[in-house]
Amino acid sequence: MSAVASAKERIEAATRATERLNPTLNAYLHLDLEGARAAAAEQDAIDAARGAGGAPDPARPLAGMPVCVKDIVDVAAMPTTAGAADWVRHPEADATVVARLRAAGAVVVGKGNTNEFACGIDGRNPHKGDCRNPYDPERLSGGSSSGPAAAVAAGMAEGGIGTDTSGSIRVPAALCGVVGIRPTRGLVPAEGIVPLAWSLDSVGPLARDVVAAALLLDVLAGRPPAPAPRPDVDGLRLGLATALLDRSATPVADAIEGTADALREAGAEILDAALPDLRRATAIHRIVQTTEVAAAHAPWFARRRDLYAPEVRARIEPGYRLRAAHYLRAQRHRRLFTRAFAATMEGLDAILVPASPVLAPRTGEEEIVVRGRRRGVRSALLSCVAPFSQLDCPAVSVPAGLREGLPVGLQLIGRPGSEALLLRIAAAVEANAGPLPPPSI
């Protein structure tokens, strides 16, 4: 889309794609195309009144950008269903992040699909229908921010708003071939968003490219837009998580090793990153998340536990029976893991890890074979993201190319507050991979 395209043109392009593809992809659960057109007309009217000859308005850095908002985030005058069976609220006010988007000129097209209550990593939803992967509708989109990722990949939006508790931005971004940012926890406010696990939740953007994702992040964080990230890794020291590559599917490992080689040629030093015990980290994460999700859901769960999908109920209900001592012990070990990871980061600027160790699995597959080893799909999709989700640090998933016609996502993890640095690296990854061919759907 040209930088000088009007808001109307951008919304019409997203609308055409949505009308054509949403029946197949199920990326949107709720649409307000009429409202989007009206909002686009308002943006164009403001531009016309400014008379700046199409020059960007610094006060509205997202003017005319069509956005898909995950359906656990409140948008005034649209229902929030959280992808659940019979749970709905009708907010009168926008979530803080949506208010910031609109103030910056973005146009909300609709509410994006999600795993039930954002509790899942695969993008499947027995109540609202699965979200499908634009690169192959017979494959998983990833989740839980499934709708925003699929919508952006398919041109049904230019930006998406998601949430990430265990990997729910990074995994769908990786499987659908878009950029996704899990910001430093607390950078982006969570008011007006259905919580999953308070000490793990992070709200962030998805976009087609690094520049758009960076711009969205600045708006969500309520700060002036920084200059667009430039691909520059010269002199950076990057740690490659070779142990995780060895457990990844060969096409994923090859793509990431190839990217690491390109970053080395661009001036970065690539070192082997010895990560702390990720098995322990995953255990900590499961205990903390399960307990917090149970607490967040207590009022609704007490009344309508029968409405939850069996798999989701089985992930929430144990949280009512775990003891406080278990939760606190896990939180104390979480702090040890954070210290160990900080030690790993000493002398490094960022860590390179697959966002998903596998290409998008086929819908309906419960297990997948990776290098001769049978793994559960859910476990595989969580394996490279959940352990790092309990750190307060940011992580970015950026496309590293297509393999076998499917996107590969490279995850960049840095210190708290290092989003700008990660986006610089992501821009270099993007420059190496080139724009992904759009889905042929």
């Binding site: 399960t290 144990p318 896990a330 104390r332």
Partner: protein, 44 residues
């Protein structure tokens, strides 16, 4: 996708047993003196 309630009870029990075992496997000695609050000080 749909399972009968008994299956769900089994799933809940299995998940709980696994989580309890994971928690019990975490040593108290390792975290002696460590409060359950993380923060930027852990990165300094």
């Amino acid at each position: 996708m749909a399972r009968c309630p008994d299956d769900t009870e089994d799933l809940v029990a299995a998940e709980l047993a696994e989580l309890e075992a994971l928690a019990e496997a975490m040593s108290e000695d390792e975290v002696e003196g460590v409060p359950p609050v993380s923060g930027p000080q852990d990165w300094e």
